[in-house]
Every structure is written in C-alpha cells, then in structure tokens.
C-alpha cells in the first residue's frame, strides 16, 4: 500500500473492531507501518490524539447555550444581510439552515468533530472562567532528535502494556508510579522546549536523550517486577 492509502485508512484501522475493516486490509496496513517510519509516526500521533480526546471530561452544554448560539447567528445574519437581501420570511435563516440537509465525507466529519470538541472546550472554559485542559500530545510534536519517533513508539508500547495492568495495582503504588513518571515527563517537556529554541544544541540533545532513557528504564523495571 502507498502512504496516501494508509493515511486515508488509518483512522478506521485505529478504530479496531469497531471499524469492520477486512483482515487483509488491516494486515496490509500493518506491513506498511512496519516499514515506513513516517506513517508509523502519523499513527502514533493519531492514536495519541484519540487517547487524549477520550480522556477529556464529558460535559453536557446547557440547553440555553444552543439558544444563545442560534440567536447570535440569527442576529449576525440579519445585520450583515439586511441591506443587500430582500426580507426573509418570518422563520428566519436559522430555521432554513436547520431544515437544509448536508452530506459530509468521513475526513470532513473527522475535522468537524475536532472543531466541535475544540469549540466545546473553549466554550466551557469561557463559561467557567478557567483555562482549557492541557493535553499531553507529545507524539504530535515535531521530532527534535532523528531517532525520537522510534523512541516514542517504544515508550508508547511499553506504557500501553503497563496501563493495561495498572488497574490491578494498589492505589498507593499506582500513585507513586504516576508521580515518578510525571516528574520525568515534566523535565522532558522543559528540556524539549529549550531544545526547540535551539535545535542544534548538543547539550540539550544529550539531556533529552538521557531523559528518554530514564523513562524507558522506569517502564522496564515495572515490566521486570511483573506488576
């Protein structure tokens, strides 16, 4: 398969059993991913976005919010169109917008979904006067080291295996592990920011590598301890 075909099918592939993708197509994608670092990175980034989206708290917008949005659109449409257009019927263009039928392609729907999530997050944070939740999308960052994609893929695999077992741990152990991991992540984030401002800085490159090793070591230990 070509990269273009992979990109079009990656979202379905990541949906797993829900996507009803034929086994042979899934196998072709896996074969391609094994040999194409670019698509592998894309897959990693997409799966991190999906994971992050899943972890967003679920909020139901109040019914009044939709009314306010409808009113705002209605008012804006009326102001902009008043001099140029003939008077509309009493139902208004919000009503005609609602009655119209639209069809979207899957990529358009995915984009629409992402915009909707962003709008809801922005709307909710605006309503409550808080900052929007910070998402840890390290996989979506630009690689600062040549081998960074491979490193992240390895760490992601190890972490996924540990996360699958973590529910069985006692709460204290889980909290301690997450604290260790968070501290390493925090340092990594700080150093990556420093490296972003000067990507050729060999000292920061070395330190970022050391922190990736630290994270890998922690995950390896947990695997060895058979938790």
């Amino acid at each position: 398969m070509e990269c273009r075909a992979i990109i079009n099918s990656l979202s379905d592939y990541l949906d797993g059993a829900d996507s009803r993708m034929p086994d042979n197509e899934a196998h072709s994608i896996e074969t391609h991913l094994a040999n194409c670092p670019t698509c592998r990175n894309l897959k990693l980034e997409l799966s991190e976005i999906k994971t992050a989206a899943r972890e967003l708290p679920l909020h139901t917008p109040p019914r009044a919010m939709w009314t306010r949005i409808a009113n705002a659109i209605e008012a804006e449409g009326a102001t902009e169109n008043a001099p140029a257009r003939p008077a509309r019927n009493s139902s208004g263009w919000w009503e005609s917008l609602k009655s119209r039928r639209f069809t979207f392609s899957l990529p358009q729907l995915a984009g629409l979904g992402a915009v909707t999530v962003a709008l809801i997050v922005a709307g909710i944070s605006g309503m409550f006067g808080t900052n929007p939740p910070t998402l840890n999308l390290t996989g979506a960052q630009t690689a600062l080291l040549p081998e960074e994609g491979e490193i992240k893929a390895d760490l992601e695999r190890r972490l996924a295996a540990i996360n699958a077992r973590k529910a069985k741990w006692d709460p204290q152990t889980r909290a301690e592990f997450e604290q260790h991991l968070a501290k390493i992540e925090e340092s990594l984030k700080r150093l990556r920011q420093a490296l972003e401002s000067n990507p050729q800085d060999a000292v920061h490159q070395q330190m970022v590598r050391a922190l990736y090793n630290e994270k890998r070591q922690l995950l390896e230990d947990i695997e060895r301890l058979k938790w």
Partner: protein
Amino acid sequence: MSLVITATLTHSTGAQTFNRTFSVAPETSELEVVNQVGTIKVTPAAAAGKIVIIARQLDGDTKIDATQNAQGKVKVEVTGRGTVDFEITVPPSSNLDLLCYKGAITVTNLGGSVRARITDGNIQFTGLRSPRVEAHSTKGNVSFSGEVLPSGSYTLKSFSGRVDATLPANADFKLSAASYRGGMDLGGFQMKFEKQTDQLVEASHGAGRASVYLWTQEGSIHLHRKP
C-alpha cells in the same frame, strides 16, 4: 534444565526468615535479585564457592523463589506485596544484577560486574574492584567508591538524587558528567577538558582509558579524590 528451590521459612519475632545456600563456580558465579520493597546487601562470602541468601520477610504477603539454572546462575525473585530485606554473601568475583523498587541496595568489597537499579531509594557501592559498574536510581542517591580498572566502565545515574564517585587520585579515566539543575563538583582532579559548561563536562584524567559516566537531572554531582 533449571533447579527450583522452594523457600524455607522459619518464624522469629513476627518475621519470616528465608535461608538458602547454592554451590557455584567461584570465578564465574552470577546472581540476579529482583526485590519489590526492602533492602539488598551483598558482601563477599567467607566460604569459597557458595552463595548464601538470607531474607527476612517483614510484612505483607510475599513469596520468594530461588532458582539455579544449568549454567549455575542463581536468580532470586520476590513476588507479592511486602517488605523483604536480603543479606547475601557471594564469591568476591561474582557478577551481580540487582533490582529493587523501593528500599536500598548496598554492595561492598566485590570484584565482579555489578548492575543495580532502584526506583525509590539509595544505592551504595563501597570498596569495589569491578570492571563494569552500573548504578541507577530514579529517586535516591547513588554513591561509588573503589578502583578504576583499565578499560573499565562506570555508570552512576540518578534522576533526582545526588551522585557521588570517589576514585583513586591516580586513576586513568575519561569522564562524561551531566547535571541539568544541581551543579557539579569535580573534586580537584586535574583534568583535560574537551567540553565544559555549567551542565555538562567531558574530560579525561591521566591516560583516560576507563569510562566514567555520571548523570543526574535534578541532583548534584560530586567527584572525590581518594589519596
């Protein structure tokens, strides 16, 4: 074919004691210990060709398995939750691989390769004459004092703790030391610097044959001269 030896337990003052002795080849003996919580102390054996393991199970619900494989390597592994303190004696040239999640690891007066890893706790190596040393703590201090053998490799790392290395004044070694936040004290060694910043030092002392790598992200690094 491996020999599986079940724990021998005795009860004394509320704690259970595990005792096991293995016959090994003195020059090529190998020991691996995986502990969950507690201490691991390893010292030279009085009797040649024996690895003696004494463990006190202080609390919790733990199980200790001790096995020796066909090549003579001894592996001791703790499973379950609880504290176990080990006191182990080995032939002086034994190769060690020690892992503990929380507690402390100390190794004294041995001459084989030593690898120790702890997530939460200190590692202390004293009086070693080892060709290869690796000590790595995530949250704890790491200290080493001993000989530096020609072509030896000495790696001491801690994410948030202090790293101390006490080396003979006449040792020949190539140093790579990095501390992102805690600073470095190189202890008066007259070195030839190849790279020197506040956070990273690459230098050599004498003929620079052995490799010494010291790293800490949050802690400090201290190099000491042993007269």
